[in-house]
């Protein structure tokens, strides 16, 4: 049933209000203005007023413009023909490829997976970044954000992981992406030969703000369909802070009471609804989500990274061009460490970090002008080796080689009784100099 209305009684922010009857919550509409046609979604019903958020923004919308209700919620095309294609924030192809209007369309933002139909994640995804593989391995079906301040090479890291990861489908959701960054992703994927198994939903920084809201939902709805069909999907989202900011804008236009720094009280649930799409289906495929969350002012207690941290299964901190060993965490790592990976993986991981913490402490102590002891020298030496061999983002090394290098590094710097490792492992792996 398609209903047309031709007068708008209120325009506030990107929200317009139309008097209409028989309209369902969440339904989609088209707003025809002199600047073109934009999609809009019902976000509130009150008596006979229907509140719509206009994806292309309300600029240029006149009170006399036509609003046409489509009778269904937002949908996106789905099919194998999506592979290798690039779409904009409202789901239209922007790569001059063949028309996709013949494909079936699926609703976005569908209900969540029944928890009992999930299985415990068990696939290890090797990235050849030792700070990830050794210390915080990525697990299939995990949702992990990369926390970074502006200016950090987060998109490079994302692209690198996207290219190496062993996935059937890679879906990139660009939210408020700079045009240059979009091109970089595109070229990187093309060069690595993975473009044919990638799908991109790109909302660039110059596109209307409200369109940002659709990108994660479209990317994840498509991922979900591939997932239930047995595909292992990797979804890359950048940047989720831009997504949260768009929600803030809408909430404020709707006169909602803000909870923290202007963000709506539902921020946690809204972010969780997206991240929770990461899943390992029983007897089918999986969805892994890797998302960038930029931290305004490099502050992790900012509401967006903070809420994200509680939702996701760990986080990577990217600081000064390296993945921070402290704070970075893969919560699912215990499911693969020592089970899918080598038995000594766990002890190497814990001891090396503990000792590196100590070496940082020594550095601080020396910076305050204290005398250096013999022990201090060894810790400093260890700290330097750790940085060069593991932290440097240019290091490209497989997991098992990295573990061997770990034992080598420990043996070079310490005595076996100093490292806090169970005797069995010492006997097996310690390299006596």
């Amino acid at each position: 049933m398609i209903i047309e209305h031709s007068y708008i009684i209120r325009i506030q922010g990107d929200i317009i209000t139309v008097p209409a009857k028989g309209i369902g919550f969440g339904e989609l509409a088209e707003v025809k203005s002199r600047h073109g046609i934009s999609l809009a979604q019902v976000i509130r019903l009150k008596d006979n007023g229907v509140f719509l958020q206009v994806f292309a923004g309300s600029r240029g919308v006149s009170t006399g413009d036509q609003v046409r209700f489509l009778g269904h919620p937002m949908r996106v095309a789905f099919g194998d023909a999506l592979m290798g294609r690039i779409f904009n924030g409202s789901g239209d192809p922007i790569d001059n490829g063949p028309n996709l209007s013949g494909l079936p369309r699926i609703e976005i933002g569908r209900p969540s997976v029944n928890p009992v139909r999930r299985v415990i994640p068990r696939g290890f995804i090797e990235t050849r970044v030792p700070m990830v593989d050794v210390f915080n391995p990525l697990v299939e079906s995990q949702k992990l954000p990369i926390f970074a301040a502006a200016g950090e090479p987060y998109n490079d890291l994302l692209a690198r992981i996207g290219m190496h990861a062993n996935a059937d489908v890679v879906i990139l959701g660009g939210i408020g992406l700079k045009y240059d960054e979009y091109l970089k992703f595109r070229y990187a994927f093309e060069d690595a030969g993975v473009i044919s198994r990638s799908i991109m939903f790109i909302h660039t920084a110059s596109d209307p703000v409200v369109e940002r809201l659709l990108v994660p939902d479209m990317a994840l709805a498509v991922a979900e369909q591939f997932g239930v069909r047995g595909k292992r999907v990797l979804v890359l989202l950048t940047d989720m802070t831009a997504f949260a900011d768009a929600m803030k804008e809408i909430a404020i236009s709707m006169d909602q009471v803000p909870s923290n720094l202007g963000y709506p009280g539902s921020l946690y649930s809204d972010l969780a609804a997206r991240y929770e799409k990461a899943v390992d289906f029983e007897g089918a495929g999986s969805i892994t989500v890797l998302a960038v969350t930029t931290m305004p002012g490099d502050d992790v207690t900012h509401p967006v990274p903070d809420n994200t941290g509680y939702i996701t299964e760990g986080q990577f901190y990217l600081r000064k061009g390296v993945i921070e060993p402290f704070g970075s965490l893969s919560r699912l790592k215990q499911l693969v460490i020592g089970k899918v990976t080598r038995a000594d993986h766990g002890v190497i991981m814990n001891s090396m970090i503990r000792l590196f913490a100590k070496s940082r402490e020594v550095e601080q102590k020396l910076a305050m002008g204290f005398d250096k002891t013999e022990d201090d020298d060894r810790f400093l030496h260890y700290g330097q080796l750790f940085f060069d061999r593991f932290m440097d983002l240019t290091v490209d090394i497989g997991l098992n080689d990295a573990l061997d290098l770990g034992w080598k590094t420990l043996s070079e710097c310490f005595r076996p009784d100093e490292v806090g490792i169970k005797q069995d492992f010492i006997d097996k792996h310690w390299i006596n100099n």
Binding site: G24, G26, K46, V116, V119, Y310, Q315, G327
Partner: protein
């Protein structure tokens, strides 16, 4: 009644729907109503009544709901179904069995599906315990059915007030949960009430059908040393675990849910990750309950309303969990409820409060946050039942403070009402000192309250614990000093204090939850190892130089450390123990 019990939707705002009802219809606060949306009935709860306008929170997605949709009122409060067969179940926040939904649906949850919480077809072997003519009160036992390894008593419905006479009771035999097994008559007004194996209880009201509440004075053993030794938890007590993300809240909760010595464990996964629940759902049936030898799932109930499931049902999930906990307590069992996380529950309150356009309190949480939190924790407790037995409900809630800052309203309001506080710190988790409960900020009121029963572990126990607390403080002070003045700036004695506190930290506080031996420590081992550790703490070490001190203390440190990974009473355990004892006796120093 016809149309009288009906209303019509006039506004929809996310999960909040408003309807209008006729003048003649009475509406109950917190009444359950069903909105007919695109042919499916969506469950909702009345949360505000203004004149003829009724605000309801809908427990499902409201996509497609229209102005003018019909609303039907049930006349009932939101209730849980209680009876045999709850153990081992996996429910959503409204007590729908998720495993049964699985059979009917595909991977995804469909809205508007409500199933019976209990298996209606299963036959239970009922044995009556009273005869006709007996005078009974709510909560008294009429008979029992076996559930798992214990007797599941069938009680006089908890709702009933006053005294009742049993006029009819069925003989022993097999019955379904909805069959009448007895009829009782009020001694006051002669009203007759049938009793079934199952009963209903409105989740937001506390169950009070017991003789009296007692002061919790016995320990609830969790097998986590840091809790059991340093900040013990009482049976029937309450505790909270606040911590920033990544500090190990969830792992700690999982460990407690596995190894705690409780009869029934209820896990409320409230607005948290689905992945974590999955681990529990998939692993528990495989794990053995050390106490009974059966599957761990047989003592566990999971209420699972993960973060992507509807927000309003999240609010209900904690109440559903507590109600089931109170029910099993009424049966004379030791129940432990773990809620992860109460912050998500508070956020659900905040979301609905914001939609109701209520005046916000601190950080936009509603002003009634404090009383709601207190009301939930106060439902825990140790009680004496009508037959003289005791039952207990212990509640551990985790809190996820924004930014890891404990000054925020949910943490602060929780601290006011709990008996133990296990504060997780980022510093400790960054140093991989797990569980990352910070001994310098945590506390337990039960250490004093349970002093007498703790002394049964060993004489002077509480005193020793207080002493080692002081050592940790001193050690931390020395450490702070060392950061400022360096190791050369402190005295030898201070260094020894610091090294001692580091040993205590490494071998007693820290516990490796992924190690087969170390993840759970029995009471006996806790006592024995702690006393040995205290011998070390009490030992007067005399050293010539700081290097000497460091060397020997490192040896001791390593011996204690290796010992905690050895199976109790095993050969290697005794070897390390012997080496430690000889060093402490002053004969092992040059033994290498």
């Amino acid at each position: 009644m016809g149309d009288l019990s009906k209303g019509r939707i006039i506004a929809v705002n996310g999960p909040l729907a408003t309807c209008e009802v006729g003048q003649e219809h009475n509406v109950l606060q917190n009444e359950v109503a069903y909105v007919n949306c695109q042919g499916t009935s969506l469950k909702s709860e009345v949360i505000r009544i203004r004149g003829r306008q009724i605000d309801m929170q809908v427990f499902e997605s409201t996509t497609g709901m229209m102005v003018g949709d019909d609303v039907e009122f049930s006349g009932e409060l939101l209730s849980a179904t209680l009876g045999p067969g709850i153990l081992g179940m996996i429910y959503d926040g409204l007590q729908n069995p998720l495993t049964h939904l699985e059979n009917d649906q595909d991977f995804f949850l469909k809205r508007g599906q409500y199933l019976n919480a209990l298996d209606e077809d299963k036959q239970w072997e009922f044995t009556p315990a009273v005869a006709s003519g007996a005078i009974v009160k709510a909560g008294q036992f009429l008979g029992s059915v076996p559930e798992g390894l214990f007797k599941h008593h069938i009680m006089v419905p908890l709702m009933l007030k006053g005294t009742w006479e049993v006029i009819r009771i069925v003989p022993a035999g097999h019955y379904r949960v909805s069959e009448t097994i007895a009829v009782i008559r009020s001694t006051e007004d002669g009203r007759e009430v049938p009793v079934m194996l199952k009963q209903e209880w409105p989740v937001k009201m506390p169950v009070r059908a017991y003789q009296e509440r007692l002061l919790p004075n016995r320990q609830m053993l969790t097998q986590c040393r840091l809790i059991d030794i340093f900040f013990p938890l009482a049976e029937g007590g309450t505790a909270c675990i606040p911590g920033p993300f990544g500090a190990g809240k969830t792992v700690l909760q999982q460990i407690i849910s596995r190894y705690a010595e409780a009869d029934v464990v209820i896990i409320v996964a409230c607005g948290e990750r689905a992945g974590e629940v999955v681990e529990t759902i998939r692993e528990f049936p495989e794990l053995e309950d050390p106490k009974t030898g059966g599957s761990l799932m047989n003592r566990t109930v999971i209420i699972c309303n993960t973060s992507s499931m509807p927000v309003a049902a999240r609010e209900a999930s904690i109440y559903t969990g507590v109600t089931i906990g109170e029910y099993y307590r009424s049966l004379g069992l030791k129940v432990l409820l773990l809620a992860d996380s109460t912050s998500r529950w508070a956020q659900a309150l905040r979301e609905s409060s914001a939609r109701l356009e209520e005046i916000p309190g601190e950080e936009a949480f509603p002003a009634y946050l404090e009383s709601r939190i207190a009301a939930v924790y106060e439902r825990a407790g140790l009680v004496r039942l009508r037959d003289g037995e005791t039952g207990s409900l212990t509640v551990i809630g985790s809190v996820s403070p924004a930014g890891g800052n404990f000054e925020e309203p949910v943490t602060q309001n929780t601290l006011k009402v709990v008996g133990a506080f296990y504060g997780l710190s980022r510093t400790r988790s960054d140093q991989r000192r797990y569980p990352a409960i910070d001994p310098l900020i945590s506390w337990s009121l039960y250490l004093r309250q349970m002093r007498e029963s703790l002394e049964e572990r060993s004489e002077g126990w509480a005193g020793l614990v207080e002493e080692v607390h002081r050592l940790l403080y001193e050690g931390s002070e020395v450490h702070q000093m060392m950061l400022v003045v360096g190791e050369e700036g402190i005295s030898l004695d201070d260094l020894v204090i610091y090294l001692k506190s580091e040993i205590v930290d490494a071998v007693c506080l820290q516990q490796d939850s992924f190690d087969v031996v170390d993840r759970a420590t029995s009471l006996e081992r806790q006592v024995r190892d702690f006393l040995l550790l205290m011998d070390m703490v009490h030992h007067q070490f005399t050293y010539e130089s700081k290097e000497d001190a460091r060397r020997e203390m490192t040896t001791l440190h390593n011996l204690f450390f290796q010992m905690k990974y050895c199976p109790y009473e095993g050969e290697t355990y005794h070897r390390y123990r012997g080496e430690i004892e000889s060093i402490l006796a002053g004969i092992g120093e040059n033994s290498e």
